[in-house]
């Protein structure tokens, strides 16, 4: 089975701090990591390979340093890695990003299943996975929490919903986006780390994947960010003082209106 995993290198959101004087994002010194949701996608890809045979190709679109994320994916069991990088991709929104990734996948040509994390932790849009399937015109199942069956040309999966889950069957090729519940990602093995160090990462640019210049980067992006601002930081409020009886009475008083109406 040919498995493609799409990942994104993101700033570690939990380290993002706001400069209190300028009210802007401090990006310096923030490490880049594989988007947390994509680690489940990588793990699931490797598990499918372990079961059915075949190979896992990991793909990312990003700046040259995104190669680090690909090497990490190799250390976790992916076989091949492709970095899609070009200055022309700068400014891509989710439309252009999913187009670029779909062109990459077209060039890879042989694929049975494409796995993405449900969303990236920096943009939080959850749009690129479904966007890829729409560009490739193949089916999708989002928010997958379990792959029940997967074999040549066929898959049965569980899709997490607000109330529970759905069981969905599909032909392959298929795009799935996965949630945390699907697995517990392994740690890189020593052997994996060695392999990652020596592995060759393919580098493709816009011409390599035969992109239409009007569909990539800023040109290919219908949306424009016109303003960025920091929300007023939430201030810690009032600490209620007193013994249990007193604090409970105070809290109940303060929250009464919220609760009743």
């Amino acid at each position: 089975m040919n498995i493609i995993v799409c990942i994104k290198q993101v700033p570690n959101t939990t380290q993002v701090r706001i400069n209190p004087e300028t009210n802007t994002l401090i990006r310096e010194g923030v490490e880049s990591v594989i988007n947390p949701f994509d680690t489940y996608a990588i793990e699931e890809g490797v598990r499918i390979k372990d079961k059915t045979g075949g190979k896992v190709t990991v793909v990312t679109m990003g700046p040259p340093q995104a190669e680090d994320a690909l090497r990490e994916a190799i250390s976790l069991g992916c076989d091949e890695a492709i970095l899609v990088s070009d200055r022309k991709f700068a400014g891509s929104d989710t439309w252009a990003t999913s187009y670029t990734l779909s062109q990459t996948i077209r060039k890879i040509k042989d694929y049975d299943i494409i796995i993405c994390g449900k969303q990236a932790s920096d943009g939080d849009t959850a749009q690129v996975g479904p966007g890829i399937s729409a560009h490739l015109d193949i089916p999708q199942v989002t928010y997958v929490r379990k792959i029940e069956e997967i074999s040549a040309g066929h898959a049965k999966v569980e899709r997490l919903t607000e109330e529970g889950y759905e069981i969905i069957e599909s032909k392959l090729p298929l795009v799935i986006t996965v949630v945390k519940e699907i697995n517990e990602p392994r740690m890189p093995s020593l052997k994996g780390k060695m392999r990652a160090k020596n592995a060759q990462v393919l580098k493709w640019n816009a011409d390599d994947i035969e992109c239409n210049v009007n569909d990539i980067g800023l040109n290919g992006s219908p949306t424009r960010v016109i303003k960025i601002f920091t929300p007023p930081p939430r201030k810690g409020g009032e600490i209620l003082k007193g013994d249990t009886h007193e604090v409970v009475a105070k809290a109940a008083d303060l929250l009464k209106n919220v609760i009743i109406g």
Binding site: T13, Q140, K180, P222, R234, T244
Partner: protein, 405 residues
């Protein structure tokens, strides 16, 4: 798609009928008619072989992408709201979108339209008029009873092509996010995810879409200047529900399509509900969450009890999920759910940044923790430093009295 962004044309003046292009075309797309080359656009791949071989410069491939991509935005009007339904019930997010959509439509001076797909919904259309819809586009078919990506995408793409809305709003739910991401690609429209604020630039007639990014650390305002409709998914519980007014009337546009439009490449085999409480997290006005401080799965009963009295839902931190005390579907935070209820009560949750990302937009936060330095107190509206095993049951008792339960 890229196929339509260039156009190949043969100049009848320049073509001498030499047939060179016919021989070189790898797709047999060129034939001679009245001694002039004619290209079959169905077969043509725009490879350019004919253009290259032609000695008379009679064949040209022109880039028309700018014409194709930038639709005449003036053709598009009205604000559309996708009304999510589950098991025959229109979801509350639809009422929130109708409330917000009404404001936008009034600012633009256009109609507010509800889009509803399902089975047996004709009697419920009047509820949507009551909530502010001027027009309801209803596609009612047994095949649309449950949400499925393909048929829902196909139907809505057809509706948009035919009726051309300028704005299309949808809930940022599991269904909404899966659906509109596909539609936006299919119709080449801009889509902004998870909006928490919408407004109109009345001068330019543009939808101003504001959303959090980087885990809520920054806010961005986004527009789609040259593409229509302007599409947004909207976060649940942020906009106010439209207040029903049963004297309002509207117009029903009932559409039916060929079976091919309703066909799905995926097959829904079963729908399983497994939320233990009556209220689910994303719908809840009140959430009571437990964390590592609980010390064990059995102590979640205390959390459930308080949630029940408040008619709220049960949430948890990642630590409690990872410890196996409660299923993942209850997890609030970066790798769980993002929630913004009216009241969030955090019990024994220290408030790691990953958790705060998922709940800090709650309107009121009450935190109870024994550690006075716990980061949760930095975002809490009210804090109680103390023992959750004492305070939570006491709170439950007090609220029970107030609510006379």
């Amino acid at each position: 798609m890229s196929k339509n962004k260039e156009r190949i044309q043969v100049s009848k003046e320049k073509c001498v009928g030499c047939r060179l292009c016919v021989t070189v075309c790898p797709f047999s797309a060129i034939a001679m008619k009245e001694k002039k080359a004619v290209i079959d656009l169905e077969k043509c791949n725009l490879c350019g072989a004919c253009k290259e071989i032609c000695k008379f410069k009679a064949i040209d491939i022109v880039d028309i992408s700018s014409q194709v991509r930038f639709v005449d935005i003036n053709e598009y009007k009205d604000v559309w709201v996708f009304c999510e339904q589950k098991k025959g019930v229109i979801q509350s997010i639809a009422h929130e979108l109708l409330g917000e959509g009404r404001k936008l439509a009034d600012k633009l001076g256009v109609k507010l339209c509800a889009v509803l797909l399902g089975e047996g919904f004709q009697p419920k259309v009047k509820d949507l008029y009551a909530r502010g819809a001027d027009i309801v586009y209803l596609v009612d078919d047994p095949k649309l009873k449950h949400y499925q990506d393909d048929p829902y995408t196909n139907v809505i793409v057809k509706l948009i092509h035919e009726y051309k809305p300028e704005i299309f709003l949808c809930g940022a739910s599991v269904i909404g996010r899966s659906l509109v991401s596909r539609i936006a690609v299919k119709i080449n429209a801009g889509l902004t995810a998870d909006c928490t604020g919408l407004d109109i630039d009345t001068e330019k007639r543009l939808l101003l879409q504001t959303r959090p990014a980087f885990g809520g650390n920054i806010m961005a305002t986004i527009i789609s200047p040259n593409h229509r409709p302007q599409m947004s998914t909207v976060r649940h519980k942020v906009m106010k529900e439209a207040v029903p007014n049963s004297s309002r009337a509207g117009k029903l546009i009932l559409k039916t399509y060929d079976d091919t439009v309703y066909s799905s490449r995926t097959k829904l085999l079963d729908v399983v509900e497994e939320i233990e409480e009556t209220v689910n997290l994303s719908e809840a006005d009140i959430i009571v969450s437990g964390g590592r401080g609980l010390g064990g799965p059995e102590y979640f009963d205390m959390i459930r009890e308080l949630a029940k009295v408040l008619n709220g839902a049960v949430g948890s931190s990642r630590a409690a999920v990872d410890a196996g005390w409660i299923p993942y579907s209850h997890q609030v935070g970066q790798t769980g759910k993002t929630v913004c209820p009216k009241l969030y009560i955090a019990c024994g949750i220290s408030g790691q940044i990953q958790h705060l990302i998922g709940m800090q937009s709650s309107k009121t936060i009450l935190a109870i923790n024994k550690d006075p330095d716990a980061p949760i107190f930095k975002v809490a509206t009210y804090g109680i430093v103390g023992d959750i095993f004492e305070i939570v049951p006491a709170l439950t008792k007090r609220f029970r009295e107030i609510l006379k339960k």
